[in-house]
Point group: C2
Chain length 329, copies 2
């Protein structure tokens, strides 16, 4: 029995140098405030990421301005070169810069410049299962322009196993560098994450590609599921400052860095950024575990209804919300 064999060992006191951490504070947090962060906040997160030894920072989306009215959203819905350079200059740091390109919501042929004209390093293509062929074209486009790429298959909890096999095989056939396991609804628990991690890892075996993970905290499992994925070999980890993100938020960066033992990581700049810039955002934005988010996750549903409830006068009416989600009401 594997458990008995390892019972007297403590592998967690060492580290795996392949592990990379991606901060998506501004990108996922931006879903809660239409990406309207003050530059001071964005700059503080950037500086904290550099000082903390974080590998990537994701600023936001390359949203198509024909779809999203620029007067309704902040800079980080669009992430123009000028926007990013306003914060990072030429980014003469080891931190790589990432943006997310949503399938059907990105004019990628035009809005993503050739790599040599851009301060961006990584394009993360976000796709639902029904958009795979489009995502493949987006991956190829970004790769041909010279970028590192990931593909983030969203709402994995709605994808059937045979579809997943097919999708993973298709991704492996593209030049994508990393395939990201995404628990959009925060619905998975550890054994599900283990099984999915092993499935993704098996798909990329021998290809040189990596697997990443992006979790949500609806059931207070964002951090533990990230650890579960690490244990099985997932190497690219999403986290956000104090867990800020849509609804229940994401894996908290402070917890993740407290767990990782690579001496290149440093938790103090993260704590400083959180106390100075993130905690004050709580006056305007709510994030973190709340029972309505647990309820949508329990039923494998998008957190939309829970977010609406929390913004209404009925924010703590859990029983009627539970009945509504379960179809009783």
């Amino acid at each position: 029995m594997e458990h008995i064999v390892t019972m007297n060992r403590a592998p967690w006191i060492n580290y795996r140098p392949e592990i990379k951490v991606l901060d998506c504070t501004i990108r996922d947090g931006g879903l809660m405030n239409n990406h309207l962060f003050d530059d001071s906040v964005v700059k503080s997160v950037y500086q904290a990421c550099v000082a903390a030894g974080i590998d990537y920072m994701e600023f936001g989306y390359k949203g198509d301005k024909k779809i999203f009215a620029p007067n309704k959203y902040g800079s980080w819905k669009f992430c123009t070169e000028d926007d990013i350079r306003r914060i990072v200059g030429e980014n003469k740091t080891p931190l790589k810069i990432s943006i997310m390109a949503d399938a059907e919501k990105t004019n990628y042929h035009e809005d993503i410049l050739p790599r040599e004209q851009s301060v961006i390093d990584l394009i993360r293509v976000a796709t639902y299962i029904h958009q795979i062929p489009l995502a493949v074209d987006m991956i190829k486009d970004a790769h041909n322009k010279g970028y590192e790429t990931t593909v983030n298959l969203m709402a994995a909890s709605l994808v059937h196993e045979n579809e997943l096999e097919e999708a993973l095989e298709i991704f492996v056939g593209t030049p994508v560098d990393t395939i990201v396991l995404v628990d959009s609804f925060g619905t998975f628990y550890s054994e599900q994450i283990r099984n999915l991690s092993l499935r993704y890892l098996k798909a990329v075996e021998g290809t040189g590609k990596q697997v990443g993970i992006h979790t949500h905290n609806n059931q207070q499992l964002a951090y533990s599921n990230t650890i579960e994925a690490i244990i099985h070999g997932v190497n690219m980890l999403d986290a956000t400052m104090n867990g800020i993100g849509r609804g229940a938020g994401n894996c908290p960066m402070e917890l993740l860095l407290s767990f990782l033992r690579n001496p290149k990581f440093n938790i103090r700049p993260v704590l400083q950024c959180i106390q100075d810039y993130i905690i004050p955002l709580r006056d305007k934005i709510e994030w973190g575990y709340q029972i309505p988010y647990m309820i949508t996750a329990h039923f494998n549903q998008h957190p939309r209804a829970a977010i609406e409830l929390r913004e209404s006068d009925h924010r703590d009416e859990y029983v009627s919300f539970y009945d509504r989600c379960s179809g009783v009401d």
Copy 2:
């Protein structure tokens, strides 16, 4: 490889009938307010436990009135028969009633009545590693009086492995029914819980005794670590309404019941109790994840300093607190 074998199975959609749930809302939550709950709150928790199919409810401590001044604490520091009967009458329900007896803080020979004179079903003996012989006497006393018993070895993260082996062997030699793995500081992560669970389970193998678990949420791992323990065979699970408890609190009952599949459990009364009686307590008591609790857990320290920080004017000064805990300051 065990993982591959189970990859196509989903054992979690069924349930293990041996699993028992213990609500310690009033007992552990009482550590935050000197056990001064209104009877209406205690009654609502009791009624919710009965309606939800929860197996045990723990009301508080059998504190020694020579040690704790009765005018400083609420009823649930002492849990006299009259106190409990004020809430439960003769408790003509399937719910069993538990109290905690702290080693050196309980006048157990006198204050714990013979079982036939009591409405209490379960005595949980709480002990640190240096109090084991006293705990053994307390177990025997409670057992001889006719009670079901557990022994809760507190602060397991400070206990060395050879001490633990010895302690478990001693407990196995007593009439105790359940040995509870207690992560007082909220410091363990999944692989540590796995190893400890297996150690406790190995100790009780073939004895008919059970293993329980009590977690704290300092690192947002209270629920996930409870699940981890379940996976390996731990059968007695502590949880509290909305996770209320000392510092970062405990495993949230609403999450635990949403995970357990035994049809005897019902989540709705728990949600009702939380929305009507627990959420309003937030005006007076803080509980749940906060960065100072994560910091004490990271350093395997008691949350005392973090609780004091949260009650001070410096509640969000994480960096200086981190430096203090790490010994830099």
